[in-house]
Structure formats: structure tokens, C-alpha cells
């Protein structure tokens, strides 16, 4: 197919957008191999050496290994809990035609209206009263609570697209309600579940304020987002080390995104077609 001149602006826009994304990424990665002087004096110059000193310093001084394990533990368990609660809730809301279900769906949507910061103090009090302050358990329970509105709203929309005839056929074969959820709705909603997983993974992994206050600074318990800022000192920050530490903490995000991105794109496209 021959492309006419009309394609030139589109190409320019696409390449311009790609550059907009690549330049900061390059700056970020290049800085991880530089000293402060090199970063500030020649920000876009390639690094003069590809030594891993900055990475080793970041990893050891901020104990990032343990912090990554903690983050994986908190994020992983919170995701499991989120799905364990959101999938059945969405299933029930999607299938029901009652007014109560409609009202419940709106209640879930109301969760979007609560600003994150406004909930900090009550959440802190709750953690203190329950004896879960300075523990990761509270975050494992709390993070799914914050994720329920988005998760339920997304999954309900997905589940509503599944024809009722599928469930009726399964019922005729003797399927229980749980079996319908397990064998009909869940497989057909996998793109939606992947979307929920990916969005919540990013939110949980990057969560800072609550992790800082609730879990605290104990190296044995703190998450990676709490460990990373300890590389920043008010009396002089080594930005090479800080950037290297940030790169290390982004590796799990990159892995998860790579694994789930196709499912998510599929979900977005299928959503568009259905609209």
C-alpha cells in the first residue's frame, strides 16, 4: 500500500510521541550509571562507564533486596485478597437485577469520592486500635479496601457482557453458582481480571504514604517505596545511586506489565468494540 503525503503528520506525531517517552527513559537509565557531577553537567551525555557501583551501593545501603521481598509479599497478598473479594462481588452485582444490587453498585462507585489523604488519620487510628500498627498485615487488608471501587466497577461491566444463556446452559448441566462463576464468568472475564490485576499492582507497588506511616521504617518490614527515599539525604543526594535504586525497584513492575499487557490491551479493545 502506497502512503500519501497525508500520512506525514501522523508519522511525525507518532515519532514525536515516541521521543517524548524515550528521552526521559534514556535520561533515567543513563543517570543510573553516572555521578552527580556528570548528571548535572552533561545530563544527556551517555555514561562514561557502565559499572554497577551505583546499583550495588543502592542495593546494599538501602537493603533493597529485603524491601522488594516485602513489597512482593504485601502486593501479592493484597492482589489475591482484592480478586477474592471483587470477583464474587462483581458476579453477584452483574447477575442481579434487583434495586438493592443497583444501590450496592452505586455504593461501590462512591468509593471513588474519598480522597486518599483524607482517610490517612482514621486509617492510622484503626491500625493502632487493632494492634496492627507497624505490621504489613494491615496494609494487606487495607489496600484491597481501597481497590474495591475500581475493581468491582470494571469487573461488573465485563460480567454484564456475558450472555445469560451461557449460565442457563451450565445450570441445565447441574452447575452450582460457584461452578458458574468458576467455569463461565471467570474465564470469560480474564482480560478484565488482568486489567484489574495490572492497575492494582501498579497502585499497590507504588503506594508510599500509608506504607510509610503504617508499616514504618523497620528494614525488616518496610516496602521498597519506603526504603528508596532513604537514599535521599537533605545534606546532599547522590542522584546516581538514587536513580540506580529506582531502576532496581522498577524491574518487578516491568516484568508484571510485560506479562499482563496483552491481556489488558485485549480488554481495552474488546471494551471499545462492545461500546
Amino acid at each position: 500500500m502506497k502512503l500519501g503525503k497525508g500520512w506525514i503528520p501522523a508519522h511525525l506525531l507518532v515519532w514525536g510521541y515516541a521521543v517524548l517517552l524515550i528521552v526521559p527513559l534514556y535520561y533515567f537509565l543513563a543517570s543510573a550509571f553516572k555521578s552527580n557531577e556528570e548528571i548535572f553537567a552533561h545530563p544527556f551525555a551517555p555514561p562514561t562507564s557502565l559499572g554497577f557501583d551505583n546499583f550495588v551501593t543502592a542495593f546494599t545501603s538501602a537493603q533493597l533486596g529485603l524491601a522488594v521481598v516485602n513489597s512482593l509479599l504485601v502486593t501479592g497478598l493484597a492482589l489475591v485478597l482484592t480478586l477474592a473479594l471483587a470477583v464474587p462481588a462483581a458476579f453477584a452485582l452483574a447477575r442481579s437485577t434487583s434495586r438493592l444490587a443497583s444501590a450496592m453498585e452505586k455504593v461501590f462507585s462512591l468509593g471513588f469520592l474519598i480522597p486518599t489523604f483524607a482517610a490517612l488519620f482514621p486509617t492510622f487510628l484503626l491500625a493502632a486500635v487493632t494492634g496492627l500498627f507497624h505490621s504489613r498485615t494491615f496494609m494487606v487488608v487495607f489496600l484491597p479496601a481501597t481497590a474495591m471501587p475500581l475493581s468491582v466497577v470494571i469487573l461488573v461491566q465485563f460480567m454484564r457482557t456475558i450472555p445469560r444463556e451461557m449460565e442457563e446452559a451450565a445450570r441445565m448441566d447441574g452447575a452450582s453458582t460457584f461452578a458458574v462463576l468458576r467455569h463461565i464468568y471467570t474465564p470469560m472475564c480474564l482480560p478484565g481480571i488482568a486489567t484489574v490485576l495490572l492497575l492494582n499492582f501498579l497502585t499497590f507497588w507504588n503506594e508510599y504514604l500509608y506504607s510509610l506511616v503504617i508499616i514504618g521504617p523497620d528494614p525488616a518490614q518496610r516496602t521498597v517505596q519506603v526504603a528508596l527515599p532513604t537514599l535521599k539525604a537533605i545534606t546532599g543526594t547522590d542522584y546516581g545511586v538514587l536513580t540506580a535504586g529506582t531502576v532496581l525497584t522498577l524491574v518487578p513492575v516491568w516484568v508484571v506489565y510485560t506479562v499482563l499487557q496483552r491481556r489488558m490491551q485485549q480488554a481495552l479493545v474488546s471494551g471499545a468494540v462492545k461500546m
Partner: protein
Amino acid sequence: MRSPLTRRGFLAAGSGLAATALPALSGCSSLAASDSDPDTLVVHSQLGTTAPGSATYLRALKRFRAENPGLKVKNLVNGDDLAQVYETARLARKEPDVVMVNLYDKTLAWTDVGATLDVKGHLDDWGLRERVLPQALSAWTDGKGRLRAFPYFATNWPVAYNRALLEKAGVHGIPRTGDELIRAARRLRAHGIAPVTTGGNDWTGQKLLAQIIQTFLTEDEARHAYTTGDFGSRGAREGIAYFVELRDSGVFTDKPQGLTSDSMMTQFHTGKAAIESAMSSALAEVPERVARHTDVGGWPLADGAVHDKPTILRSYTLIGFWISPNGAKKADAVERFIRFMYRPDTVSRFITESGRDMAVRSDSLSTGFPLVAAAQRLGSDVSEVLLPDVFVPPAANQPLITATSTSFTRGTSAARVRAALESAYRSV
């Protein structure tokens, strides 16, 4: 229809997960916090990663653990957010036993509200009073005579002059007056060198602005101005006018209102700028190739100044050991820790290995850090002005940084600088 995962199986898997994972996340595992363990001393510090002095501190902790085998020490590290984390932990009654942080902003209120304890009695009971510099004791004592914490780190805050760059621009000798500084700045600019670099958008610019304003303020007047936010006195107005004159004469680097301490240090370290006002921890990080051509001194004076020598800042409130109510329950462990940190060999290591200035007596000099040592020797060659940190109400600190950025913007009149400074206190 037979499901491979039955309802019973699903519930069993969920229960199993809860039974195994949740204890690991809270109390009964090796990954659990031990802040309530009576045999564990919990120290909350800004040292431990890349902050100046961290390596020496971690080695000190290692020696302390070796000398006290029955006592576990847990070191919690936070950066700028330490005070917030400590306060929330205190509200939950799970605060660490000892906190190592400076006297600034939120921490100013800690003794008053009972978040930390008066340590005056301990200082005498443990026989440590003679170890502390009298100026440090005075700085850490509040208006009610309570000693807020055991003083530890201090800092000299002189002005560093890159002699090689000054000479390259034809400036021979360190400027001692405002006029000499303006002439030097013009010559430096003619050679493509920025004169004075500073973080006009953070605490470094704030301190330099305070230092320049105090050119015309006595100690009492400075204390009054920074406590109340009243910059209307004749001395304060003259100080602001002096600052504006220097700024509009091109003394500061271009667009300092957007710079931070990191960009300031980088400009000085890379020879882009010839002069910086730097505390000792920053001086310790000046690369050797620059340090060997650098002299330290004071900020040049203007005609009519109340000081007879160029000024520097000096502070004794950089880091102290604060004792929490939880720490009071482990008084024996806390005493052992403080005594160890006050021991001459421990103090000496911070000076020689990390180039830190101490609020504790020591004969050691930071010989491996020539600029820090030179600053320690300045003595009577310079005049001291107040570091305003202890006097500025916590609510005014952040607005003062904003006012600093406004002040460093070229074209801002002296009246507007004064208005910006005074408005920073409106929320107090």
C-alpha cells in the same frame, strides 16, 4: 459439571493462605518488628544509607553490638520524613527508644508535648555534662530550662571560595566587603564563571538570605526577627536592602530561585561557580581537585555592618539523641548507648572518618577533609551569626522557603522581599 476447584477446596486454600501468610506479616515471624522487645534498643536515625557520616555510624553500631552481646540494636532509617514517622509512631505508643535528628521544624515542639523527654537529669547522672560544648548545651535547652536531647553533631557553615577561579578572573584575595564581592562577581561573569551559587529554592538559600540580612542585626535583633517574623527594624531593612543590592549586581548565579542544594554543590564541584555557602558536611564532599584550590572564610560585610569581621553560620543543633517515653523504660540500654556514642574514640571517628563537626568535646581534627578542618580553625577570623532554625516557628518554615525563592528572583524590590518574609509568618 465437575470443577477442579470446588467451593470447599477454594475455602480451604483461602484459610491456609490466611493461616500461613498473616502471622508472617504481623507478629510471629522472623520478619516481624521487635520494637516492643525489652532486650532490643530501637534507634531511629537519618544515618544509615548515604547521608554523610552513615558509614562511621554503622561501624559504631557494629562495635556497640559487639561490646553489648546481650542487647540487640535495631536501626530504623528515614530521610526528611523522619519527624512525621516518629510522631505517628508515638501516637500509637510504638515509638523508637532513641531518635537521632536535628532541632528544626516539627522537632521543636517534641519536648513540650511530651513526645520526647527532658534529658537534663540523665546528662548529669551519667556524668556527660563535661563532654558537651557549652554552646551546644545552650542551643539544645528550651525556654523552660529543659534539655531537649543529648547534643551530638554540630556544623560550621562558612563560605567556600574557589581561589583558582577567582584568580583566573583576575580577583586576587577573598572579597571581604560587599563592594569587593560585587567587583569580583563582575569579573567572574566576564570570564563565564558564575559567582555565588546557592539553592534559592531550598534551605541553603534560606540560610544564606538569613546570614546576609544579619549583616545589620545584633544577635538579639536577629532572634526577635526570626521568632516573630517582624522584619521592620532598621537593621533588618538594611540587611534586606544589602541582599537586594548584591542580587541585582549579579552576585548570585543565574536564576538561583530555581536551584536546590544539590545543584549548588554540583555547580561548585564542577567549577561552574566560584563561591558557595556550605555547611561542613557539604565541604567534606568537595572533590580534592577543587578543595586544594579552595579557601574558606566568611560572607563579605557592607558599610555600617554590626559585625567587624565577615560572617559565618555555626550550629550546634544538627543531630542530637532524643529519648522517647519508650526509651525511658529501657534506661539502662539507652545509657549504655549514649555513653558509647559520647566516648572519645567514637566521637573522634566521626571527625576523622566522616569529616563531621561535633557538639561534643574532642581534640581530633578532620585532617582528611581539609576544608572542614580549615572551617574548624576559622575561630576569631570570622564573626558568627545565628542559624534561625531554632527560632522560626514550625508553621513558618515552608512558607519561608517560598519567600526565599521570591527573594532570589531578580527585580524583586526590598519592600517585596520584606513582605514575602513577613507573610511567611501569617499562618503562625
